[in-house]
Symmetry: C2
Subunit: 142 residues, 2 copies
DNA sequence: TCATAAGGTCAAGCAGCTTGACTATATGGT
DNA sequence: ACCATATAGTCAAGCTGCTTGACCTTATGA
């Protein structure tokens, strides 16, 4: 199996299993794309335009996604403290709970891998992946 | 940066850059999903149902995808040699040329990573990824 | 031989994305 | 101070790729 194929297979598997884990914890109204949005919102909120750039979609699409997570109670729109044109999208308590659930689910998968590879191998794997990973916007695998 | 985030970022980057490389080689009418289909068709062809299971979509969706790549000249439907209900989808010469272009593009990206990590590190990375990669159907990252 | 399963396609509907148009606010040169 | 231009965001319409449901054909097995 080629490196590229193994990388794509592992990433797809990870996404699917995080999603399954989040669903199993009761958050059944979200898709994997929402998780990437939550990750961007978590530190201190973000604007719709920030989110759009991070997700690699138009700001209209990002705005629709925000509509959805606001409607479902995971985030809220606040006036932006420094720019009256903009709004700051921040996670609600429910949004934070869901984010923690996703982190738990990811840790479960990574933990299973660590059981197969061992801690030292996992550290080496992480270090190499970080060195080849880009810093720009997140991209879907296909 | 967490292992899971690095893995997803690297995989998304790889997909995007393979797609860009394939486009740059003249195949501008394909999307990343087609590459995963080609990979399944390449060895010796596959049925629509096989393809659907591999891509994780319904057989109707797989059939539509086959319609498209047949219409664009990358594959053709042949009668299945052992089952009169089924059809064997096989790559045309154009399909093979495109597959080689994708392999070249992937090799370019992997080569760039090798330049950063070194050959020994890359072998270790590949070996570890293979050990955590699943064998089931391919899954999109989101 | 006939009930049931499996491969494939046709048709309709829908979700998520795009482009285009628009309003409101910010920014910077004159 | 003013105005041209850029930026943040939303509304509306349309498209594409996927889904579900119905159906035909061929295979399988009791």
């Amino acid at each position: 199996m080629a490196l590229s194929a193994a990388l794509l297979a592992a990433a797809g598997d990870l996404t699917q299993r995080i999603h399954d884990g989040v669903s199993a914890r009761g958050f059944t109204d979200l898709r994997p794309a929402h998780g990437f949005a939550f990750a961007r919102l978590a530190p201190g909120g973000a604007t719709v335009t920030d989110l759009a750039a991070h997700l690699g979609v138009t700001k209209q699409a990002a705005s629709q996604l925000v509509d959805e997570i606001v409607r479902k109670g995971y985030a809220e729109r606040r006036p932006h403290p420094e720019d009256a044109r903009a709004r700051l999208i921040v996670l609600t308590e429910r949004g934070w709970t869901c984010t923690r659930a996703a982190e738990e689910a990811a840790a479960e998968v990574v933990g299973e891998w660590a059981g197969r590879l061992g801690e030292g191998e996992m550290r080496a794997l992480r270090e190499r992946l970080v060195r080849i990973a880009p810093h720009g916007p997140i991209r879907p695998v296909w």
